[in-house]
């Protein structure tokens, strides 16, 4: 009884080892083939051609950012401002907004994923900066974000000038750029810094401060969650979001810029903006 079990196990082990070596042999061959194929293709085709050939646009988006790119836990669908812009782009290139594949990116992974070819473009609340322009090419601005203030609906604070007074308390998160900015721009105000924005918002709701400050993109999300609060119109820093493509993908970039111009002209952009942000874009 014991012996037969042993024999079986040894037999199985041998079979497994043999098949594994065989598989490794196969896979290494195929990868080398693929690599040469890819090189040939890249030399011959632009990214735009490849998208058309593939019949699918692959876009890197965020999965965890309310209003811009958030995976809905109930439906499993990713939804948001960035997603609608991406779908519109798929429609522009391939004629169907469903011919799209969304891949999750984070601020850390998006540039590496773009550059190794996993995605064709990044639409993930990416601020256009000189530093990043060295690594990727950016489209025109598709969303103008900036630091702003979240206040009670009936508050008489309407801009940075209204908080630059003694006795006004502004809440934000520890160590954020927003904290440094507000100290520089409203030196008279008391600034209280919390562990994160959720805690700062809790304190604001409890009346522990007059305003909360960070990027308006985040503030719009909070205001949507609690209608007793509103985002003031003025922004006092500029964070222009752009769509990023690989360096030198000129054909794709031209199509993207053309697309952005189109939707801004035909009102589609305003519709998407209003759907997610809850108000019309400022001119």
């Amino acid at each position: 009884m014991f012996k037969t079990v042993w024999k079986k196990m040894i037999g199985l082990g041998l079979v497994a080892m043999l098949s594994a070596t065989a598989l490794v042999g196969c896979s290494s061959e195929t990868t080398t083939e693929n690599k040469t194929d890819n090189k040939k293709e890249q030399a011959a085709e632009t990214t735009l051609d490849k998208i058309k050939e593939r019949g699918k646009l692959v876009v890197g988006v965020k999965y965890d950012l309310n209003l811009f790119g958030l995976k809905n836990p109930q439906t499993g669908e990713v939804e948001g401002f960035d997603i609608d812009i991406a779908k519109g782009l798929a429609k522009k290139i391939l004629g169907d907004e469903n011919k799209i594949e969304l891949k999750e990116v984070t601020s850390k992974t998006r540039i590496p994923m773009l550059n190794n070819g996993e995605i064709d473009a990044i639409i993930a609340t990416m601020t256009i900066t000189e530093e990043r322009k060295k690594e990727v090419d950016f489209s025109d601005v598709y969303f103008m974000a900036g630091q702003s203030l979240l206040v009670k609906k009936d508050s008489n604070i309407n801009g940075i000038a209204d908080v630059n007074k003694k006795g006004v308390t502004v809440l934000t998160a520890k160590g954020s750029t927003s904290a440094q900015n507000i100290r520089a721009k409203a030196p008279e105000a008391t600034v209280l810094e919390f562990e994160n924005y959720a805690e700062a918002f809790t304190a604001l709701k409890a009346g522990q401060g007059d305003a909360l400050t960070t990027d308006n993109a985040l503030l719009f999300g909070m205001a949507k969650q609690d209608p007793n609060f509103r985002v003031v119109d003025e922004t006092f820093s500029e964070e222009p979001y752009g769509i990023a493509v690989r360096k030198g993908d000129k054909e794709l970039l031209d199509v993207i810029n053309e697309y952005l111009k189109e939707i801004k002209a035909n009102g589609e952009y305003d519709k998407i903006y209003e759907k997610w942000i809850g108000e019309k874009p400022k001119q």
């Binding site: 160590g175 440094q180 209280l192 919390f194 805690e199 304190a203 709701k205 409890a206 009346g207 522990q208």
Partner: protein, 217 residues
């Protein structure tokens, strides 16, 4: 080696934090000693409803995390229109929390005084409160000093909870300096040194008091 430039450049912040931690600790110490003594007497007084109040206070408060009690004062009470700033809310939370532990320490001290003391005091015509105040509590104090010292030291360290609700204490400024300079280790070592500056004298003081009272016994 420690980077002392951090301490020098952020001296004002460290000092503001240190003085607020000291202030919060002293206020909470006085407050919790008062509430704790009252609750301890409630628990052993020969009046049933008072026993219940004392027991409920101690069991309810000491079995909840300190941070939640602080949140009650910081974001809970404002919902019903009572608002404290972050420093006051933190200090109140700390006071209420520590009082539950002090009540238990004092109750143990009172129970350690032989029963005959109360009986003798009552039969010489003192009321219950007079007997408690003039006869029992003075004897209980001696017994209670070492565990009470522990509670005071815990209180000073627990005051770091103010940092979470932006209470402008040592911990708050420590977090702030660390997030601005991206230095973690050195910043918090200095924070720890400032806490030691409060707790070590407290330890030594409690020790000295213990020896003095032991002699007088």
């Amino acid at each position: 080696m420690l980077d002392y430039s951090i301490l020098i450049e952020h001296w004002d912040m460290y000092m503001q934090g240190f003085s607020n931690t000291l202030k919060a600790s002293v206020l909470a110490l006085i407050g919790s000693l008062a509430i704790g003594t009252v609750m301890a007497v409630f628990r052993i007084a020969p009046i049933r409803p008072l026993n219940w109040i004392g027991a409920a206070y101690v069991e309810f408060i000491r079995n909840i995390p300190l941070i939640l009690i602080v949140f009650v004062f910081f974001v809970g009470l404002p919902a019903i229109g009572i608002r404290f700033d972050s420093f006051t809310a933190g200090t109140l939370g700390l006071t209420v929390y520590t009082a539950a532990f002090i009540a238990e320490v004092i109750r143990a001290g009172i129970l350690a005084v032989p029963k005959g003391q109360m009986e003798a005091a009552r039969s010489s015509g003192l009321t219950y409160l007079q007997a408690m105040w003039h006869v029992i509590l003075p004897q209980a104090v001696k017994i209670v000093i070492p565990p009470m010292g522990n509670q005071f030291i815990n209180l000073v360290k627990n005051s770091s909870v103010l940092g979470v609700i932006a209470g402008l204490d040592l911990m708050y400024f420590g977090d702030l300096i660390s997030s601005e300079t991206f230095v973690t280790f050195d910043v918090y070592i200095f924070v720890a040194l400032f806490y030691l500056l409060l707790t070590i004298p407290l330890s030594l003081g409690v020790g000295a008091l213990e020896r003095r009272l032991a002699k007088s016994r």
